[in-house]
């Protein structure tokens, strides 16, 4: 568990994605089975263990440490597991296999648990104690998605991410067949029904680039501002996956119940009320919930707008040209009024399409999708067959308020910018952006921050409110969590307005008027 504890600590403090991937890959390469499989499952949240309550841990501690000293310590450290890991008094520092810790936490009965945990803590050094306690409380908080875990696995051997994704959902910890396959063995068979299939992605395009193509070779449809999903009913096993292969079935029981077909379909998850499609903000309220209340199911009903069929009634359609799949799609019966088909748009020239894109019939449309008529369904992001032509972003002129130092390649540079808009004579923070500018502009912004600092709070500086930034963003949600009452999606700095005085920046009311 020493290597696992080291890995956890490094991951917790490493902000850069590539560095995280390297740490994880090295760990997986150097750690034997089954420890590495359990570690992987612990990191991605797929390890189901008995959850140890904070009360149990506190109880262990007050038997060993003066209650006042414990309270002062907890107050200083701020995290119960960490406080206990630091306070536990032992000179031993054994390298206990992670598998032993996992066995303890999955097999020990409730009555024996406190003593078993204490015995384990007695054997471990401080960072291992923390790793063990995080495992026991089911609270890794490491920010590692299952997608990243699969990317690290793909770096270890021949199978690529798409191939690993395809079998991932049939696997269980500690993933021995997967590691064997990566090491050159045979590919594990689909162990479970309703596996995730790699999704076909599009590349961005604009009118100039489209000019090189013949519009007759393409079809177009609206680009819906929902969530791309893969919905499956495989012999009665129903699943809903995000486009990165996360299983989100639990958040959408109403849609799961409506998957009355036999196949694997590609479409957009939307909140729908009758014929109307709700804005993204409504859909967001349904995300990330382990359980959805009855009220939410009624006020925010989920629906699916299908645009492609991958497997239908036992037949894999992915090799067929798009228009042949489309013919099957248009004749399909999905068995529920929550599911319908994304219609094709009527256009002859790219200018026709530009006109449609400029004036969509609903706020929830964020542009158009353009697909080659003869394109087979290919997982990944092939260049060419599918394009997304998003509507132009919204922009506001905001005032730079705070800047935070960046990490990695931006170490030493103030690169994360908080900006605000006017409300009466106050500037209210409305968002944060850390991209959109060139390296040269970053140097200029950094210099501005250093020369105009008014206060410092650790890595953050507040700056004199005088620089105007043009901020582009894709959409807006009303938000109770933000002081301004709005949350921007994908905000980035599109221009630095060195020329514009801060007093002429936009007002919060302008932004609020853009909420759909």
């Amino acid at each position: 568990m020493r290597a696992f504890a080291n890995l956890l600590e490094r991951l917790a403090f490493t902000p850069a994605r590539n560095a995280k991937l390297r740490l994880l890959r090295h760990y997986l390469e150097q750690t034997p089975d089954p420890d590495r499989g359990y570690a992987l499952a612990a990191l991605t949240g797929d390890l189901k263990l008995r959850t140890v309550t904070p009360g149990l841990l506190r109880g262990l501690m007050v038997e060993r440490v003066d209650e006042q000293l414990f309270a002062m310590s907890y107050d200083f450290v701020g995290d119960l597991a960490e406080t206990i890991a630091l306070l536990w008094d032992t000179d031993r520092n054994e390298d206990v296999p992670l598998t032993q810790a996992v066995a303890l936490l999955s097999e020990t009965g409730k009555a024996g648990l406190p003593a078993a945990i204490a015995t384990m803590l007695d054997r471990l050094g401080p960072s291992q104690r923390l790793a063990f306690l995080k495992l026991a409380t089911g609270n890794m908080r490491i920010g590692l998605s299952a997608r990243m875990a699969r990317m690290a696995l793909a770096d270890m051997g021949d199978p690529d991410v798409a191939q690993i994704e395809e079998i991932w959902h049939g696997l269980t910890p500690p993933y021995q067949p997967l590691f064997d396959w990566i090491a050159g063995g045979t590919r594990p068979e689909h162990a479970a029904r309703a596996p995730f299939r790699p999704v076909m992605l599009s590349t961005p395009v604009d009118l100039d680039q489209l000019g090189a193509f013949d519009p007759a070779d393409y079809v177009a449809e609206w680009k819906w501002d929902g969530i791309r999903v893969q919905a499956i009913n495989d012999g009665g096993v129903r699943r809903l996956y995000s486009r990165t292969g996360e299983d989100i079935s639990n958040s959408f029981p109403d849609l799961i119940e409506a998957l009355n077909f036999d196949g694997t379909v590609d479409g957009e998850l939307l909140v729908r009320r009758g014929e109307d499609v709700a804005v993204f903000g409504d859909l967001q309220k349904r995300l990330g919930r382990k359980q959805v209340g009855r009220g939410m199911l009624e006020s925010h009903p989920a629906g699916l707008r299908v645009y492609d069929l991958m497997i239908w009634q036992g037949r894999d359609l992915r090799e067929l040209p798009l228009m042949e799949r489309r013919a099957v799609l248009e004749g399909a019966d999905f068995g529920s009024n929550r599911i319908d088909v994304s219609p094709l748009l009527d256009f002859t020239t790219w200018d026709d399409l530009a006109a449609l894109r400029a004036d969509p019939p609903a706020a929830v449309i964020e542009g158009v999708m353009i697909k080659r008529r003869d394109s087979p369904y290919v997982g990944g992001r092939p260049r060419g067959p599918w394009f997304k032509w998003k509507r132009d972003p919204h922009v506001v002129d905001a005032v730079l308020l705070y800047a935070q130092r960046g990490h990695g390649k931006r170490s030493g540079f103030y690169s994360d910018f908080t900006f605000g808009l006017w409300e009466a004579d106050q500037l209210v923070p409305v968002g944060k952006a850390y991209f959109g500018f060139t390296d040269e502009e970053l140097r200029e912004l950094d210099r501005f921050v250093r020369n105009n600092t008014t206060e410092r709070f650790g890595p953050v500086r507040s700056v004199a409110p005088k620089l105007v930034l043009e901020v582009a963003f894709e959409g807006l949600n009303a938000s109770g969590r933000h002081k301004s009452g709005v949350a921007m999606r994908f905000p980035r700095i599109s221009r630095i307005r060195w020329d514009k005085p801060a007093s002429e920046a936009d007002h919060l009311s302008t932004l609020k008027a853009m909420i759909p």
């Binding site: 003066d66 002062m72 200083f76 250093r450 650790g458």
Partner: protein, 330 residues
């Protein structure tokens, strides 16, 4: 004479009436006894300064030769007024000392200054001095602070340097003491090649060399291209544009505070190294047990934790609540 007539806190610092001197005063005074060269203990502008020879030399490097009206090296016990004072190694940084004050009548008081009992290649080891009243710091005065073996922390640094060989490792360390200790720890861990140091460390590293501490090959980290993977700099350098010369560095920090994750996060550190020049909880409690003083006075830090421990042990203790000392000085 009562203990608090021999030594008591004033706004300028700890004052000793029978000797008419201050210890580590935070304001200019006519006569100062100084435990060690960190900026919050050793300030310039006093009338006369008594300290170890190394502390005096360090003050001259930091503040210029005219840092005080007069200076005297504390080589042996010395009569001052109605007291005898002596200096004893504290194990904190080069030249650091505890100051023992023996009044002609009354209890003997030892002011330990900042002290540390982990072996430290850049400092003479801490020497226990029997006393009636022990004046201790409590920088890490909570039982969560058990500083690990520094060799283990260096293993983590080496592992990271091997894992990311293309990235500079920039480790923040206070310019006096911690930086040189870190360099020595790196040498002990097997880093033989050049180590780059920030310009602010140069003169103090030179001084350690003069004192016979072989820091090995050092190169300046001021050039545009820095040819050493390990770079040591004072923490303040990380907020300056100096960092921008490094492409995608791993930023580390060597401090006792790094044991607590929230503290490391506040600093934006990618590689926290728990290396401290202060006593941790086991050391401070062991020291008090060994010395068995009649009373413990606590200068600064987490005094509540140590007060509680003394209470549980039945040792009279009181906080001096001295202001002006930093948690871990720069």
């Amino acid at each position: 004479m009562r203990a608090d007539q021999i030594l008591h806190p004033t706004p300028a610092g700890l004052y000793c009436p029978p000797g008419d001197f201050y210890i580590d005063p935070v304001r200019p005074v006519h006569r100062a006894l100084i435990t060690h060269g960190h900026g919050d203990h050793a300030r310039s502008g006093h009338g006369a300064v008594l300290a170890t020879r190394q502390t005096l030399e360090i003050m001259a490097i930091r503040y210029g030769e005219d840092f005080a009206g007069q200076r005297q090296a504390a080589d042996e016990p010395l009569r001052i007024g109605d007291t005898t004072v002596s200096f004893h190694p504290a194990g904190h940084i080069l030249g650091s000392a505890q100051i023992a004050v023996q009044p002609d009548r009354g209890p003997k008081i030892v002011v330990s200054g900042d002290y540390c009992r982990h072996p430290n290649p850049v400092s003479a080891p801490y020497e226990p001095v029997p006393c009636d009243i022990f004046v201790t710091e409590a920088t890490f005065g909570l039982p969560v602070f058990r500083h690990p073996d520094p060799a283990g922390e260096m293993t983590r640094l080496l592992a990271s340097m091997a894992e990311f060989p293309e990235r500079h490792h920039l480790i923040g360390a206070y310019a006096l003491g911690k930086a040189q200790r870190l360099i020595m720890l790196a040498r002990q861990a097997g880093i033989d090649g050049p180590i780059a140091i920030h310009g602010a460390l140069q003169r103090l590293c030179d001084y350690h060399l003069e004192q016979g501490i072989d820091l090995g090959p050092l190169v300046p980290a001021t050039a545009k291209q820095v040819d050493a993977q390990l770079v040591i700099a004072p923490p303040s350098a990380f907020a300056s544009a100096w960092v921008q010369r490094f492409r995608d560095p791993v930023i580390g920090f060597a401090s006792g505070w790094m044991a607590v994750r929230a503290r490391a996060r506040q600093r934006g550190v990618e590689l926290p190294l728990v290396i401290s020049d202060h006593v941790d909880w086991p050391q401070v409690t062991r020291t008090i047990r060994e010395l068995a003083p009649q009373e413990v006075w606590i200068t600064h830090g987490a005094e509540d934790g140590l007060m509680r421990w003394c209470e549980l042990q039945g040792i009279p203790a009181r906080p001096l609540r001295l202001v002006g000392y930093e948690d871990e000085p720069e």
